[in-house]
């Protein structure tokens, strides 16, 4: 967590990422960002504009939460990133290489899970992974068995390796899907709704798995319509709404979008409110034993001092973090599916 979790800005982050993944044979120095798209647009044959002029920038080493309501274009974007869907306009670069042009070269370094697990129901978990592994032209066939078992072990499915996929629980299916991206060492892992349909236990398991992957310096892009998921594991977020990116940046930058408030616990509500108004704070509200106001650029320390000088007994002072959920609903509009 520590490596990936540091909340530095995108630019500052490219540095440590460079050291961690000695990566591509490109020019020395700072490696290309994990993902960049420019002007990425997809209009389906029916005329529906699924993705509109998207400019993603996912720095190396980040855990990027790709957020948006269902139907906002996340999965279409991810399919374009992986060369499954051809863009109508615009370009995609993964780890510096263009997709789909250089897909054969770059995709072996990218693990992915697209739109839920999909396997042959009549094959065992192990046989399913063997099938995926056999399709990889860069994989050394002599080590296939060890590689497959290691991937199964990592998601805790080794004991169920011989079971048919059909008999797997939803959580096991999801974990098997994630294990396909662990067959090879990766520089980037793209997970589309990895906790979709999982129970809280399964969600926690997947989340800790993502953290573990990220700790190794791998860049992770995880799409979700669940806010809690993103808030807990991500360093960066991109928010989509009807095919467009409405926000992109670090979690802190996102929070700073929201208006912060200052909350003062005091017995002298009237005086406190007066002082705050005098200091130029807006939206002053008092309730019970609290007075709160919108904080703009005033330092909380100064406000506290002014209150004390004005003779207000300050029992407590807080500047709570803005509620991310409210921010998201604000960004993505009414349709945001908070419950999943």
């Amino acid at each position: 967590m520590s490596a990936a979790g540091t909340d530095t800005g995108p630019a500052a982050h490219a540095g440590p990422g460079a050291g961690a993944s000695a990566g591509p044979p490109g020019p020395p120095g700072s490696p290309a960002p994990a993902i960049t798209t420019s002007g990425l647009t997809k209009r389906f044959r029916g005329g529906q504009l699924a993705v509109d002029d998207l400019g993603l920038a996912v720095p190396r080493g980040s855990v990027y939460g790709f957020l948006g309501p269902n139907g906002s274009g996340k999965t279409t974007t991810i399919r374009m990133l992986l060369g499954l869907i051809y863009p109508t306009r615009g370009s995609v670069r993964l780890l510096g290489d263009p997709v789909p042009g250089a897909a054969a070269r770059v995709l072996p370094r990218v693990g992915s899970l697209v739109e839920g697990p999909a396997f042959y129901p009549y094959l065992s978990g192990r046989a399913n992974l063997a099938r995926i592994d056999a399709a990889d032209r860069t994989a050394d066939p002599r080590m296939a068995a060890a590689r497959i078992d290691a991937a199964l072990d990592r998601v805790g499915l080794l004991s169920a390796a011989k079971k048919r996929y059909r008999a797997y629980s939803l959580g096991m299916k999801q974990r098997l899907a994630i294990s396909t991206s662990l067959l090879q060492p990766r520089e980037l892992i793209i997970l589309d709704e990895p906790t979709n349909g999982l129970d809280p236990q399964g969600t926690r398991e997947v989340r800790s798995l993502i953290r573990e992957i990220a700790t190794d310096g791998v860049t992770v892009l995880v799409s979700s319509h669940l806010l809690a998921e993103v808030e807990q594991i991500c360093t960066h977020v991109g928010v989509m709404r009807t095919g467009r990116l409405v926000f992109q940046g670090t979690l802190d930058e996102l929070r700073s979008l929201g208006s912060r408030r200052i909350v003062i616990r005091t017995a002298q509500l009237g005086e406190a409110a007066q002082t705050l108004t005098a200091l130029g704070l807006t939206d002053v509200r008092s309730a019970d034993s609290e007075v709160s106001a919108q904080l703009s650029d005033q330092a909380p320390e100064r406000i506290c001092r002014e209150l004390v000088l004005a003779g207000v007994g300050v029992a407590g002072l807080d500047t709570p973090r803005p509620n991310l959920e409210d921010l998201f609903v604000g960004l993505t509009g009414e349709g945001f599916d908070v419950d999943g």
Binding site: A20, S21, A22, G23, R79, L82, G83, L84, I85, Y86, A103, A104, L107, P108, R109, V110, S112, V114, E115, G116, A118, F119, Y120, P121, Y122, A130, R131, I132, A134, A135, D136, R137, T138, A139, D140, P141, M143, A146, R147, A150, A151, D153, R154, A177, T180, L182, L183, Q184, P185, R186, E187, I213, T215, D216, G217, V218
Partner: protein, 298 residues
């Protein structure tokens, strides 16, 4: 790839050079093996092969029961009258009857399912993001279809020969043209017939592969291929369509009987093989053009 295997260990060893990866051809053969395993371990396909093996046996028993006692009865078709004298002919009878519907059905199932089945299951997106490579995957799929078609023909012939040997006398083979060739040469001709029919099925398989790239519903693809085969056979029997007969995919299927005459009418056989080759090339090209340019949304 040096540390690639130790996936349980942090994959931070991303500093791998893609140097130790296998060559393109061994890697493709590995994909092909995986594809063949998928086709030949699938219960449904094994059941198809079992049916293909059982029908010649039933046919042999039925013909044995119906065979004229004396052996010189001149009733029935020339094939069937030959059978009374030689069990090897059961192979030709079985192929002739089964090429009308059962063999095309088996090939339709496997070829129609090839891409559409993966798309329907969603496994296609997993294979393509590996990345398996669209052309590479399609090539493996087509070779697997051809191998399955050949296996289907071999199963029919082998079951027919075994049944024929058990129920009828076996010896020098009297051909349709009246000459008699030694048993060894007779069996060689059986082999050629098997390969010819496998070629016909490979052409049908290419049509199936192409159809399969247009849908996510394997049943639809399978039905389409079968309907195409049957329509072609019906059209081939309508005299008014005589102009197009040589261009129908099924027109040359039965021309393997040239191999049962002396001298062998090679012109017809070559025409047949040319037709199969043309169908295979054209429909593989259609499959490729479609598969490499289409969005995978399944």
């Amino acid at each position: 790839m040096s540390t690639a295997e130790a996936t349980a260990v942090p994959p931070a060893g991303a500093a791998d050079q893609p140097a130790r990866s296998p060559g393109a051809i061994p890697a493709w053969l590995r994909l092909l093996r995986s594809e063949l395993r998928l086709v030949f371990r699938r219960l449904r396909n094994l059941a198809l092969l079992a049916v293909l093996a059982a029908l010649p046996v039933l046919l042999g028993i039925a013909l044995r029961l119906a065979a004229p006692r004396g052996g010189d009865g001149d009733a029935g078709s020339s094939f069937i009258s030959q059978l009374a004298g030689n069990g090897v002919f059961l192979a030709f009878i079985a192929i002739t009857l089964m090429i009308a519907l059962v063999l095309p059905l088996a090939i339709a199932v496997v070829s129609g399912d090839s891409v559409a089945g993966e798309a329907g299951l969603g496994t296609l997106r997993y294979l393509l993001t590996v990345p398996a490579g669209r052309t590479r995957l399609l090539a493996a799929k087509y070779v697997a279809i051809v191998v399955f078609g050949l296996s289907a023909c071999c199963v029919v012939v082998a079951a027919a020969l075994a049944t024929g040997a058990a129920l009828f006398p076996v010896g020098p083979v009297t051909l349709l043209s009246g000459n008699t060739v030694p048993l060894g040469q007779g069996l060689l001709r059986v082999l050629f017939v098997t390969l010819y029919v496998a070629g016909a099925m490979a052409a049908l398989g290419a049509i199936g592969l192409a159809v399969s790239t247009f849908t996510e519903h394997p049943i639809g693809a399978i039905a389409t291929v079968l309907v195409l085969a049957v329509v072609s056979e019906i059209a081939d029997n309508i005299p008014q369509f005589a102009v197009v007969h040589p261009y129908l995919p099924s027109h040359w299927w039965l021309f393997f009987d040239s191999l049962l005459r002396t001298p062998i009418a090679t012109t017809d056989l070559l025409h047949g093989l040319l037709s199969f080759g043309a169908y295979a090339v054209v429909f593989c090209a259609i499959a490729w053009a479609r598969f490499t340019s289409t969005d995978v949304t399944a």
